[in-house]
Protein backbone atom coordinates (compact mmCIF):
# COMPACT_ATOMS: atom_id res chain seq x y z
CA UNK A 1 0.00 0.00 0.00
CA UNK A 2 2.79 2.33 1.00
CA UNK A 3 4.44 2.68 -2.41
CA UNK A 4 1.18 3.80 -3.92
CA UNK A 5 1.18 6.87 -1.70
CA UNK A 6 2.94 9.90 -3.05
CA UNK A 7 6.06 11.28 -1.42
CA UNK A 8 4.27 14.06 0.48
CA UNK A 9 1.87 11.62 2.07
CA UNK A 10 4.67 9.30 3.05
CA UNK A 11 6.59 12.15 4.64
CA UNK A 12 3.49 13.40 6.42
CA UNK A 13 2.77 9.90 7.71
CA UNK A 14 6.24 9.67 9.13
CA UNK A 15 6.04 13.17 10.61
CA UNK A 16 2.75 12.41 12.34
CA UNK A 17 4.09 9.18 13.74
CA UNK A 18 7.20 10.93 15.02
CA UNK A 19 5.13 13.73 16.57
CA UNK A 20 2.87 11.26 18.32
CA UNK A 21 5.92 9.32 19.50
CA UNK A 22 7.41 12.57 20.81
CA UNK A 23 4.24 13.20 22.83
CA UNK A 24 4.43 9.78 24.44
CA UNK A 25 8.17 10.12 25.00
CA UNK A 26 7.73 13.54 26.62
CA UNK A 27 5.47 12.02 29.26
CA UNK A 28 8.25 9.65 30.15
CA UNK A 29 10.93 12.28 30.00
CA UNK A 30 9.00 14.44 32.47
CA UNK A 31 8.59 11.51 34.86
CA UNK A 32 12.31 10.76 34.75
CA UNK A 33 13.12 14.45 35.20
CA UNK A 34 10.83 14.59 38.24
CA UNK A 35 12.62 11.67 39.87
CA UNK A 36 16.02 13.17 39.05
CA UNK A 37 15.08 16.65 40.26
CA UNK A 38 13.62 15.46 43.55
CA UNK A 39 16.59 13.21 44.31
CA UNK A 40 19.02 15.94 43.26
CA UNK A 41 17.34 18.44 45.57
CA UNK A 42 17.46 15.96 48.43
CA UNK A 43 21.17 15.19 48.06
CA UNK A 44 22.38 17.64 50.72
CA UNK A 45 19.98 16.28 53.35
CA UNK A 46 20.68 12.71 52.23
CA UNK A 47 24.44 13.10 52.61
CA UNK A 48 23.92 14.52 56.11
CA UNK A 49 21.28 12.11 57.42
CA UNK A 50 21.26 9.07 55.10
CA UNK A 51 18.30 6.76 55.50
CA UNK A 52 18.20 7.61 59.21
CA UNK A 53 16.19 10.68 58.16
CA UNK A 54 13.18 8.44 57.61
CA UNK A 55 13.05 7.20 61.21
CA UNK A 56 14.26 10.41 62.86
CA UNK A 57 11.48 12.11 64.82
CA UNK A 58 12.70 15.66 65.38
CA UNK A 59 11.90 18.43 62.88
CA UNK A 60 13.25 21.71 64.19
CA UNK A 61 14.14 24.34 61.55
CA UNK A 62 15.55 26.96 64.01
CA UNK A 63 17.99 24.32 65.31
CA UNK A 64 18.55 23.11 61.74
CA UNK A 65 17.65 19.54 62.68
CA UNK A 66 15.39 17.48 60.44
CA UNK A 67 13.69 14.09 60.42
CA UNK A 68 10.72 12.66 58.54
CA UNK A 69 9.09 10.19 60.91
CA UNK A 70 6.36 12.42 62.35
CA UNK A 71 5.28 13.47 58.85
CA UNK A 72 5.26 9.94 57.47
CA UNK A 73 3.21 8.91 60.49
CA UNK A 74 0.78 11.79 59.94
CA UNK A 75 0.46 10.97 56.24
CA UNK A 76 -0.28 7.32 56.93
CA UNK A 77 -2.73 8.00 59.77
CA UNK A 78 -4.74 10.57 57.82
CA UNK A 79 -4.69 8.50 54.62
CA UNK A 80 -5.68 5.24 56.32
CA UNK A 81 -8.37 6.97 58.40
CA UNK A 82 -9.92 8.67 55.41
CA UNK A 83 -9.64 5.50 53.36
CA UNK A 84 -11.66 3.54 55.92
CA UNK A 85 -14.47 6.11 55.86
CA UNK A 86 -14.27 6.65 52.11
CA UNK A 87 -14.31 2.93 51.31
CA UNK A 88 -17.49 2.37 53.30
CA UNK A 89 -19.20 5.42 51.83
CA UNK A 90 -17.75 5.17 48.32
CA UNK A 91 -18.53 1.50 47.75
CA UNK A 92 -22.05 2.03 49.13
CA UNK A 93 -22.59 4.89 46.74
CA UNK A 94 -21.14 2.82 43.88
CA UNK A 95 -23.61 0.03 44.68
CA UNK A 96 -26.48 2.49 44.93
CA UNK A 97 -25.69 4.13 41.60
CA UNK A 98 -25.11 0.90 39.68
CA UNK A 99 -27.56 -1.60 41.13
CA UNK A 100 -30.24 0.11 43.20
CA UNK A 101 -31.10 3.53 41.87
CA UNK A 102 -33.44 3.93 38.91
CA UNK A 103 -31.48 5.05 35.82
CA UNK A 104 -32.87 8.56 35.97
CA UNK A 105 -31.91 9.03 39.62
CA UNK A 106 -28.43 7.60 39.04
CA UNK A 107 -27.90 9.98 36.14
CA UNK A 108 -28.44 12.93 38.47
CA UNK A 109 -26.82 11.67 41.69
CA UNK A 110 -23.73 10.20 39.96
CA UNK A 111 -22.46 13.47 38.47
CA UNK A 112 -23.34 15.32 41.68
CA UNK A 113 -21.11 12.98 43.69
CA UNK A 114 -18.36 13.47 41.09
CA UNK A 115 -18.70 17.24 41.56
CA UNK A 116 -17.29 16.77 45.07
CA UNK A 117 -13.97 15.84 43.44
CA UNK A 118 -14.02 19.07 41.42
CA UNK A 119 -14.00 21.36 44.48
CA UNK A 120 -10.50 22.87 44.73
CA UNK A 121 -8.48 21.74 47.71
CA UNK A 122 -7.85 25.28 48.96
CA UNK A 123 -11.61 25.90 49.06
CA UNK A 124 -12.13 22.61 50.88
CA UNK A 125 -9.48 23.70 53.37
CA UNK A 126 -11.20 27.04 53.90
CA UNK A 127 -14.53 25.33 54.49
CA UNK A 128 -12.74 22.85 56.73
CA UNK A 129 -11.43 25.65 58.95
CA UNK A 130 -14.64 27.61 59.31
CA UNK A 131 -17.37 24.95 59.03
CA UNK A 132 -15.83 21.60 59.93
CA UNK A 133 -13.51 22.55 62.81
CA UNK A 134 -16.23 24.24 64.90
CA UNK A 135 -18.56 21.30 64.24
CA UNK A 136 -15.88 18.80 65.29
CA UNK A 137 -15.15 20.83 68.42
CA UNK A 138 -18.77 21.22 69.49
CA UNK A 139 -20.30 17.88 68.46
CA UNK A 140 -18.17 15.14 66.95
CA UNK A 141 -15.23 15.30 69.35
CA UNK A 142 -17.22 15.25 72.62
CA UNK A 143 -19.41 12.41 71.32
CA UNK A 144 -16.50 10.25 70.13
CA UNK A 145 -14.48 11.07 73.23
CA UNK A 146 -17.24 10.09 75.64
CA UNK A 147 -18.00 6.81 73.88
CA UNK A 148 -14.58 5.73 72.57
CA UNK A 149 -12.26 7.89 74.68
CA UNK A 150 -10.77 4.84 76.40
CA UNK A 151 -9.17 3.71 73.11
CA UNK A 152 -6.80 6.73 73.25
CA UNK A 153 -7.42 7.25 69.52
CA UNK A 154 -10.24 9.61 70.40
CA UNK A 155 -8.65 11.26 73.42
CA UNK A 156 -9.23 14.75 74.79
CA UNK A 157 -8.93 17.54 72.24
CA UNK A 158 -6.73 20.60 72.28
CA UNK A 159 -8.47 23.98 72.35
CA UNK A 160 -7.57 25.07 68.81
CA UNK A 161 -9.24 22.16 67.11
CA UNK A 162 -6.86 21.67 64.16
CA UNK A 163 -6.14 17.96 64.09
CA UNK A 164 -5.51 14.86 62.01
CA UNK A 165 -9.15 13.99 62.64
CA UNK A 166 -10.23 17.11 60.76
CA UNK A 167 -7.77 16.21 57.99
CA UNK A 168 -9.30 12.74 57.80
CA UNK A 169 -12.77 14.20 57.26
CA UNK A 170 -11.55 16.64 54.60
CA UNK A 171 -9.66 13.86 52.80
CA UNK A 172 -12.73 11.64 52.98
CA UNK A 173 -14.68 14.26 51.02
CA UNK A 174 -11.93 14.15 48.37
CA UNK A 175 -11.60 10.36 48.16
CA UNK A 176 -15.28 9.32 48.29
CA UNK A 177 -16.10 10.55 44.75
CA UNK A 178 -13.06 8.69 43.34
CA UNK A 179 -14.01 5.37 44.92
CA UNK A 180 -17.72 5.87 44.15
CA UNK A 181 -17.13 6.56 40.44
CA UNK A 182 -14.64 3.72 39.98
CA UNK A 183 -16.71 1.10 41.81
CA UNK A 184 -19.93 2.17 40.07
CA UNK A 185 -18.35 1.46 36.68
CA UNK A 186 -16.99 -1.77 38.08
CA UNK A 187 -20.34 -3.02 39.41
CA UNK A 188 -21.95 -2.27 36.05
CA UNK A 189 -19.59 -4.83 34.47
CA UNK A 190 -20.96 -7.71 36.58
CA UNK A 191 -22.93 -9.81 34.07
CA UNK A 192 -26.66 -9.45 34.40
CA UNK A 193 -27.08 -13.24 34.11
CA UNK A 194 -25.11 -13.77 37.30
CA UNK A 195 -27.16 -11.24 39.25
CA UNK A 196 -30.47 -12.53 37.89
CA UNK A 197 -29.37 -16.10 38.59
CA UNK A 198 -28.70 -15.29 42.22
CA UNK A 199 -32.05 -13.57 42.62
CA UNK A 200 -33.84 -16.42 40.83
CA UNK A 201 -32.35 -18.76 43.42
CA UNK A 202 -34.09 -16.71 46.08
CA UNK A 203 -31.28 -14.43 47.23
CA UNK A 204 -32.30 -11.10 48.67
CA UNK A 205 -30.71 -7.98 47.19
CA UNK A 206 -28.04 -7.94 49.91
CA UNK A 207 -27.27 -11.65 49.53
CA UNK A 208 -26.94 -11.19 45.77
CA UNK A 209 -24.47 -8.35 46.32
CA UNK A 210 -22.49 -10.16 48.98
CA UNK A 211 -22.51 -13.47 47.14
CA UNK A 212 -22.09 -12.41 43.52
CA UNK A 213 -21.26 -8.74 42.97
CA UNK A 214 -18.59 -8.23 45.63
CA UNK A 215 -16.67 -11.49 44.98
CA UNK A 216 -16.50 -10.92 41.21
CA UNK A 217 -15.29 -7.35 41.62
CA UNK A 218 -13.13 -7.76 44.70
CA UNK A 219 -9.81 -6.91 43.13
CA UNK A 220 -11.29 -3.98 41.27
CA UNK A 221 -12.63 -2.59 44.52
CA UNK A 222 -9.19 -3.02 46.06
CA UNK A 223 -7.61 -1.17 43.14
CA UNK A 224 -10.10 1.69 43.51
CA UNK A 225 -9.32 1.95 47.21
CA UNK A 226 -5.56 1.93 46.56
CA UNK A 227 -6.03 4.77 44.06
CA UNK A 228 -8.04 6.65 46.67
CA UNK A 229 -5.22 6.08 49.14
CA UNK A 230 -2.78 7.56 46.64
CA UNK A 231 -4.96 10.65 46.35
CA UNK A 232 -5.11 10.97 50.13
CA UNK A 233 -1.36 10.77 50.76
CA UNK A 234 -0.65 13.40 48.10
CA UNK A 235 -3.03 16.12 49.23
CA UNK A 236 -1.11 19.10 50.58
CA UNK A 237 -3.11 22.30 50.83
CA UNK A 238 -6.40 21.14 52.33
CA UNK A 239 -4.56 19.02 54.89
CA UNK A 240 -2.11 21.81 55.73
CA UNK A 241 -4.98 24.13 56.59
CA UNK A 242 -6.66 21.84 59.12
CA UNK A 243 -4.08 19.38 60.50
CA UNK A 244 -2.38 21.77 62.93
CA UNK A 245 1.16 22.02 61.58
CA UNK A 246 2.94 20.47 64.56
CA UNK A 247 5.60 17.82 63.86
CA UNK A 248 4.48 15.38 66.53
CA UNK A 249 3.38 11.76 66.85
CA UNK A 250 0.26 11.18 68.93
CA UNK A 251 -2.13 8.27 69.20
CA UNK A 252 -4.84 10.83 69.87
CA UNK A 253 -6.39 11.95 66.58
CA UNK A 254 -7.51 15.22 68.17
CA UNK A 255 -3.99 16.55 68.85
CA UNK A 256 -2.30 18.72 66.22
CA UNK A 257 0.13 16.91 63.92
CA UNK A 258 1.39 17.31 60.35
CA UNK A 259 1.73 15.33 57.13
CA UNK A 260 4.47 14.99 54.50
CA UNK A 261 2.72 16.81 51.69
CA UNK A 262 1.39 19.49 54.05
CA UNK A 263 4.77 20.37 55.54
CA UNK A 264 6.30 20.74 52.07
CA UNK A 265 3.51 23.15 51.12
CA UNK A 266 3.79 25.22 54.31
CA UNK A 267 7.55 25.37 54.80
CA UNK A 268 9.03 25.29 51.30
CA UNK A 269 7.97 28.88 50.36
CA UNK A 270 9.72 30.23 53.47
CA UNK A 271 12.59 27.81 54.08
CA UNK A 272 15.35 29.47 56.12
CA UNK A 273 18.35 27.33 55.21
CA UNK A 274 19.68 25.22 52.38
CA UNK A 275 19.49 22.16 54.62
CA UNK A 276 15.80 22.81 55.31
CA UNK A 277 15.03 23.14 51.58
CA UNK A 278 16.98 19.97 50.92
CA UNK A 279 15.17 18.16 53.75
CA UNK A 280 11.86 19.22 52.20
CA UNK A 281 13.05 17.75 48.90
CA UNK A 282 13.93 14.58 50.81
CA UNK A 283 10.35 14.54 52.11
CA UNK A 284 9.13 15.01 48.53
CA UNK A 285 11.26 12.01 47.51
CA UNK A 286 9.67 9.91 50.26
CA UNK A 287 6.22 11.06 49.15
CA UNK A 288 7.10 10.28 45.54
CA UNK A 289 8.14 6.73 46.47
CA UNK A 290 4.90 6.26 48.44
CA UNK A 291 2.82 7.66 45.56
CA UNK A 292 4.50 5.67 42.80
CA UNK A 293 4.33 2.43 44.81
CA UNK A 294 0.64 3.01 45.49
CA UNK A 295 -0.15 3.73 41.85
CA UNK A 296 1.82 0.75 40.58
CA UNK A 297 0.04 -1.48 43.09
CA UNK A 298 -3.34 -0.20 41.90
CA UNK A 299 -2.42 -0.84 38.26
CA UNK A 300 -1.09 -4.28 39.08
CA UNK A 301 -4.21 -5.27 40.97
CA UNK A 302 -6.63 -4.00 38.34
CA UNK A 303 -4.74 -5.51 35.39
CA UNK A 304 -4.64 -8.86 37.16
CA UNK A 305 -8.37 -8.55 37.75
CA UNK A 306 -8.83 -7.86 34.02
CA UNK A 307 -6.92 -11.01 33.12
CA UNK A 308 -8.98 -13.22 35.39
CA UNK A 309 -12.18 -11.97 33.89
Amino acid sequence: VLNRLNATDRRANRALKLLALAGGALVFLVLIAIVYQVINGASLAFSKYGFGFIVHKTWNPPANEYGALSFIYGTLVTAVGSLILATILGVSIGLFLSLMAPRRVAMVIGPLVEMLAAIPSVVLGLIGIYLLLPFIRSDIEPALHSVLGFTQIFGAAQPVGNSPFAAILVLTIMVVPIIAALTRDLFLTVPRDLRDGAEALGCTRWEMIRGVVIPTTQSGITAACVLGFGRAIGEAIAVALVIGGVPAIHHNLFLAANSTAAVIATEAPSAISALQTSSLFYLAAILLVMGVTTNLAAQRISSRAGRIR
Partner: protein, 295 residues
Protein backbone atom coordinates in the same frame (compact mmCIF):
# COMPACT_ATOMS: atom_id res chain seq x y z
CA UNK B 1 -53.28 -30.35 63.69
CA UNK B 2 -54.32 -28.49 60.60
CA UNK B 3 -55.18 -30.55 57.57
CA UNK B 4 -55.54 -27.70 55.07
CA UNK B 5 -52.42 -25.55 54.58
CA UNK B 6 -52.94 -21.81 54.69
CA UNK B 7 -53.02 -20.70 50.99
CA UNK B 8 -51.49 -17.28 51.74
CA UNK B 9 -48.64 -18.81 53.72
CA UNK B 10 -46.05 -18.69 50.93
CA UNK B 11 -46.79 -15.04 50.12
CA UNK B 12 -45.91 -13.47 53.45
CA UNK B 13 -42.37 -13.71 54.66
CA UNK B 14 -41.91 -15.18 58.09
CA UNK B 15 -39.11 -16.34 60.35
CA UNK B 16 -35.80 -16.69 58.59
CA UNK B 17 -36.93 -15.11 55.33
CA UNK B 18 -38.32 -12.10 57.13
CA UNK B 19 -34.97 -11.64 58.87
CA UNK B 20 -33.07 -11.92 55.56
CA UNK B 21 -35.35 -9.41 53.91
CA UNK B 22 -34.98 -7.02 56.83
CA UNK B 23 -31.18 -7.21 56.52
CA UNK B 24 -31.42 -6.59 52.81
CA UNK B 25 -33.75 -3.65 53.26
CA UNK B 26 -31.48 -2.21 55.91
CA UNK B 27 -28.55 -2.50 53.54
CA UNK B 28 -30.39 -0.82 50.67
CA UNK B 29 -31.38 1.99 53.02
CA UNK B 30 -27.73 2.36 54.07
CA UNK B 31 -26.55 2.78 50.46
CA UNK B 32 -29.27 5.36 49.85
CA UNK B 33 -28.16 7.16 53.01
CA UNK B 34 -24.52 7.14 51.80
CA UNK B 35 -25.47 8.67 48.46
CA UNK B 36 -27.73 11.16 50.22
CA UNK B 37 -24.89 12.11 52.57
CA UNK B 38 -22.51 12.80 49.69
CA UNK B 39 -25.05 14.99 47.91
CA UNK B 40 -25.91 16.73 51.18
CA UNK B 41 -22.22 17.49 51.81
CA UNK B 42 -21.91 18.96 48.32
CA UNK B 43 -24.98 21.13 48.78
CA UNK B 44 -23.80 22.21 52.23
CA UNK B 45 -20.33 23.16 50.94
CA UNK B 46 -21.75 25.23 48.10
CA UNK B 47 -24.42 26.77 50.32
CA UNK B 48 -21.94 27.72 53.03
CA UNK B 49 -19.47 29.19 50.53
CA UNK B 50 -22.33 31.15 48.97
CA UNK B 51 -23.54 32.39 52.35
CA UNK B 52 -20.07 33.62 53.28
CA UNK B 53 -18.93 34.76 49.86
CA UNK B 54 -21.81 36.19 47.91
CA UNK B 55 -21.90 39.48 49.83
CA UNK B 56 -18.30 40.15 48.75
CA UNK B 57 -19.05 40.15 45.06
CA UNK B 58 -19.02 43.65 43.59
CA UNK B 59 -17.42 45.62 40.81
CA UNK B 60 -14.43 46.68 42.90
CA UNK B 61 -14.00 43.14 44.22
CA UNK B 62 -13.80 41.72 40.71
CA UNK B 63 -11.51 44.37 39.25
CA UNK B 64 -9.68 46.05 42.15
CA UNK B 65 -6.04 45.48 43.02
CA UNK B 66 -5.24 42.78 45.59
CA UNK B 67 -5.91 43.78 49.21
CA UNK B 68 -3.00 44.58 51.55
CA UNK B 69 -2.07 42.19 54.35
CA UNK B 70 -5.01 43.13 56.58
CA UNK B 71 -7.47 42.49 53.75
CA UNK B 72 -9.11 45.93 53.90
CA UNK B 73 -10.03 47.37 50.50
CA UNK B 74 -9.13 46.13 47.06
CA UNK B 75 -10.32 43.02 45.27
CA UNK B 76 -9.10 40.05 43.25
CA UNK B 77 -8.85 41.51 39.74
CA UNK B 78 -5.15 40.74 39.21
CA UNK B 79 -5.61 37.19 40.51
CA UNK B 80 -8.52 36.55 38.13
CA UNK B 81 -6.50 37.75 35.16
CA UNK B 82 -3.43 35.84 36.37
CA UNK B 83 -5.32 32.55 36.73
CA UNK B 84 -6.68 33.05 33.22
CA UNK B 85 -3.18 33.59 31.88
CA UNK B 86 -1.68 30.61 33.75
CA UNK B 87 -4.42 28.25 32.61
CA UNK B 88 -4.20 29.51 29.03
CA UNK B 89 -0.44 28.92 28.78
CA UNK B 90 -0.76 25.56 30.55
CA UNK B 91 -3.49 24.39 28.19
CA UNK B 92 -1.59 25.57 25.11
CA UNK B 93 1.23 23.25 26.24
CA UNK B 94 -0.87 20.38 27.55
CA UNK B 95 -3.41 20.10 24.73
CA UNK B 96 -0.98 19.15 21.94
CA UNK B 97 1.10 16.90 24.21
CA UNK B 98 -2.01 15.16 25.57
CA UNK B 99 -3.66 14.64 22.18
CA UNK B 100 -0.41 13.46 20.56
CA UNK B 101 0.15 10.99 23.38
CA UNK B 102 -3.40 9.69 22.94
CA UNK B 103 -2.88 9.43 19.17
CA UNK B 104 0.35 7.54 19.71
CA UNK B 105 -1.38 5.09 22.04
CA UNK B 106 -4.42 4.64 19.78
CA UNK B 107 -2.81 4.56 16.35
CA UNK B 108 0.91 3.87 16.43
CA UNK B 109 2.15 2.14 19.56
CA UNK B 110 2.78 -1.60 19.64
CA UNK B 111 0.82 -3.24 22.47
CA UNK B 112 3.93 -3.62 24.60
CA UNK B 113 5.22 -0.04 24.22
CA UNK B 114 1.64 1.23 24.52
CA UNK B 115 1.29 -0.48 27.85
CA UNK B 116 4.48 1.14 29.12
CA UNK B 117 3.40 4.62 27.97
CA UNK B 118 -0.01 4.09 29.51
CA UNK B 119 1.61 3.13 32.80
CA UNK B 120 3.59 6.37 32.58
CA UNK B 121 0.41 8.36 32.03
CA UNK B 122 -1.25 6.72 35.04
CA UNK B 123 1.79 7.55 37.14
CA UNK B 124 1.65 11.14 35.98
CA UNK B 125 -2.06 11.32 36.80
CA UNK B 126 -1.40 9.96 40.27
CA UNK B 127 1.51 12.27 41.12
CA UNK B 128 0.87 14.37 44.22
CA UNK B 129 0.49 17.90 42.86
CA UNK B 130 2.87 19.30 45.48
CA UNK B 131 5.61 17.12 43.95
CA UNK B 132 4.91 18.67 40.55
CA UNK B 133 5.34 22.05 42.22
CA UNK B 134 8.62 21.00 43.85
CA UNK B 135 9.86 19.57 40.53
CA UNK B 136 9.23 22.77 38.57
CA UNK B 137 10.72 24.74 41.46
CA UNK B 138 13.95 22.73 41.22
CA UNK B 139 14.01 22.74 37.41
CA UNK B 140 12.87 26.27 36.53
CA UNK B 141 12.27 28.55 39.51
CA UNK B 142 15.61 27.97 41.23
CA UNK B 143 17.36 29.00 38.03
CA UNK B 144 15.13 31.73 36.60
CA UNK B 145 13.03 32.92 39.55
CA UNK B 146 9.27 32.68 39.91
CA UNK B 147 7.27 33.23 36.73
CA UNK B 148 3.94 32.59 35.09
CA UNK B 149 5.74 30.21 32.74
CA UNK B 150 7.00 28.11 35.64
CA UNK B 151 3.52 27.97 37.16
CA UNK B 152 1.95 27.14 33.80
CA UNK B 153 4.45 24.32 33.22
CA UNK B 154 3.43 22.80 36.55
CA UNK B 155 -0.26 23.12 35.67
CA UNK B 156 0.45 21.57 32.25
CA UNK B 157 1.81 18.46 33.99
CA UNK B 158 -1.48 18.29 35.89
CA UNK B 159 -3.49 18.64 32.67
CA UNK B 160 -1.61 16.31 30.29
CA UNK B 161 -2.76 12.97 31.75
CA UNK B 162 -6.35 14.23 32.06
CA UNK B 163 -6.45 15.32 28.41
CA UNK B 164 -4.54 12.27 27.15
CA UNK B 165 -6.71 9.70 28.91
CA UNK B 166 -10.03 11.20 27.86
CA UNK B 167 -8.80 11.84 24.30
CA UNK B 168 -7.62 8.25 24.04
CA UNK B 169 -11.04 7.07 25.12
CA UNK B 170 -12.85 9.16 22.52
CA UNK B 171 -10.37 8.27 19.75
CA UNK B 172 -10.92 4.60 20.53
CA UNK B 173 -14.66 5.13 20.32
CA UNK B 174 -14.43 6.33 16.72
CA UNK B 175 -16.32 3.56 14.90
CA UNK B 176 -14.04 1.06 13.15
CA UNK B 177 -16.22 1.31 10.05
CA UNK B 178 -15.21 4.93 9.50
CA UNK B 179 -11.53 4.06 9.77
CA UNK B 180 -11.93 1.06 7.46
CA UNK B 181 -13.79 3.15 4.92
CA UNK B 182 -10.87 5.58 4.84
CA UNK B 183 -8.39 2.72 4.50
CA UNK B 184 -10.44 1.15 1.72
CA UNK B 185 -10.28 4.38 -0.24
CA UNK B 186 -6.49 4.23 -0.01
CA UNK B 187 -6.26 7.39 2.07
CA UNK B 188 -2.90 8.03 3.69
CA UNK B 189 -2.77 7.41 7.44
CA UNK B 190 -2.16 11.05 8.36
CA UNK B 191 -5.13 12.17 6.28
CA UNK B 192 -7.31 9.63 8.05
CA UNK B 193 -6.09 10.91 11.41
CA UNK B 194 -6.37 14.61 10.61
CA UNK B 195 -9.46 14.45 8.42
CA UNK B 196 -11.52 11.67 10.00
CA UNK B 197 -10.39 10.47 13.42
CA UNK B 198 -9.62 13.77 15.13
CA UNK B 199 -12.79 15.52 13.90
CA UNK B 200 -14.91 12.57 15.00
CA UNK B 201 -13.24 12.53 18.41
CA UNK B 202 -13.14 16.30 18.72
CA UNK B 203 -16.15 16.58 21.05
CA UNK B 204 -14.55 14.22 23.54
CA UNK B 205 -11.19 15.98 23.28
CA UNK B 206 -12.83 19.37 23.77
CA UNK B 207 -14.72 18.18 26.84
CA UNK B 208 -11.56 16.68 28.30
CA UNK B 209 -9.70 19.94 27.74
CA UNK B 210 -12.43 22.01 29.37
CA UNK B 211 -12.50 19.69 32.39
CA UNK B 212 -8.70 19.87 32.60
CA UNK B 213 -8.94 23.68 32.56
CA UNK B 214 -11.45 23.55 35.42
CA UNK B 215 -9.11 21.30 37.37
CA UNK B 216 -6.03 23.44 36.71
CA UNK B 217 -7.82 26.66 37.67
CA UNK B 218 -8.28 25.40 41.22
CA UNK B 219 -4.82 23.90 41.83
CA UNK B 220 -2.77 25.58 44.55
CA UNK B 221 0.11 23.23 45.27
CA UNK B 222 1.81 23.40 41.83
CA UNK B 223 1.78 27.23 41.96
CA UNK B 224 2.75 27.85 45.56
CA UNK B 225 6.50 27.72 44.92
CA UNK B 226 6.48 28.92 41.34
CA UNK B 227 4.18 31.91 41.03
CA UNK B 228 3.44 33.35 44.44
CA UNK B 229 3.97 37.09 44.06
CA UNK B 230 4.15 39.80 46.72
CA UNK B 231 2.93 42.65 44.47
CA UNK B 232 -0.69 43.73 44.63
CA UNK B 233 -1.23 45.13 41.12
CA UNK B 234 -1.96 43.61 37.72
CA UNK B 235 0.93 41.56 36.36
CA UNK B 236 0.72 40.04 32.88
CA UNK B 237 4.38 39.57 32.01
CA UNK B 238 4.78 35.79 31.72
CA UNK B 239 8.38 36.03 32.90
CA UNK B 240 7.26 37.49 36.24
CA UNK B 241 5.33 35.81 39.04
CA UNK B 242 1.63 36.48 38.41
CA UNK B 243 -1.03 36.54 41.13
CA UNK B 244 -3.68 33.82 40.87
CA UNK B 245 -6.89 32.88 42.62
CA UNK B 246 -5.90 29.71 44.53
CA UNK B 247 -2.65 31.10 45.95
CA UNK B 248 -4.39 34.41 46.74
CA UNK B 249 -7.10 32.54 48.67
CA UNK B 250 -4.39 30.72 50.62
CA UNK B 251 -2.57 33.98 51.41
CA UNK B 252 -5.81 35.60 52.56
CA UNK B 253 -6.61 32.62 54.82
CA UNK B 254 -3.11 32.64 56.28
CA UNK B 255 -3.22 36.36 57.01
CA UNK B 256 -6.11 35.62 59.38
CA UNK B 257 -7.59 39.16 59.44
CA UNK B 258 -11.36 39.02 59.22
CA UNK B 259 -11.51 41.32 56.19
CA UNK B 260 -8.95 39.09 54.43
CA UNK B 261 -10.87 35.91 55.26
CA UNK B 262 -14.07 37.53 53.99
CA UNK B 263 -12.29 38.20 50.69
CA UNK B 264 -11.05 34.60 50.66
CA UNK B 265 -14.69 33.48 50.90
CA UNK B 266 -15.66 35.76 48.03
CA UNK B 267 -12.90 34.37 45.83
CA UNK B 268 -13.63 30.79 46.93
CA UNK B 269 -17.30 31.15 46.10
CA UNK B 270 -16.47 32.56 42.67
CA UNK B 271 -14.00 29.73 42.04
CA UNK B 272 -16.48 27.01 43.06
CA UNK B 273 -19.27 28.48 40.96
CA UNK B 274 -17.07 28.77 37.87
CA UNK B 275 -15.59 25.28 38.28
CA UNK B 276 -18.91 23.57 38.96
CA UNK B 277 -20.58 25.44 36.09
CA UNK B 278 -17.80 24.36 33.71
CA UNK B 279 -18.07 20.77 34.91
CA UNK B 280 -21.83 20.58 34.58
CA UNK B 281 -21.87 22.48 31.28
CA UNK B 282 -19.20 20.28 29.71
CA UNK B 283 -20.95 17.08 30.72
CA UNK B 284 -24.35 18.17 29.51
CA UNK B 285 -22.88 19.37 26.24
CA UNK B 286 -20.97 16.11 25.67
CA UNK B 287 -23.99 13.97 26.45
CA UNK B 288 -26.19 15.98 24.11
CA UNK B 289 -23.68 15.98 21.25
CA UNK B 290 -23.11 12.24 21.59
CA UNK B 291 -26.81 11.54 21.58
CA UNK B 292 -27.16 13.63 18.45
CA UNK B 293 -24.59 11.49 16.69
CA UNK B 294 -26.11 8.31 18.04
CA UNK B 295 -23.00 7.20 19.92
Amino acid sequence: MSAIPDPTHALTASGNLRRRQAISRGFVTATIAAAGLAVAVLIMLVYYAAKQGVSQLSGTFLTGHLPPYDGVGGGIGPALVGTGELVLIATLIALPVGVLTALYLAEFASPRVGKVVQTGLEQMAGLPTIIIGVFIYGLVTVNFGQSAIAGALALAIVEVPLIARASLESIRRVPGSIREAADALGVARWRTVVGVILPTASNGIATATILAVARAAGETAPLLLNTNPTGLGYQLNPFQAVPNIPVEILQLINSGYSAAVAKAWGAAFLLIVVILAINIGARVWLRRSERKRGL
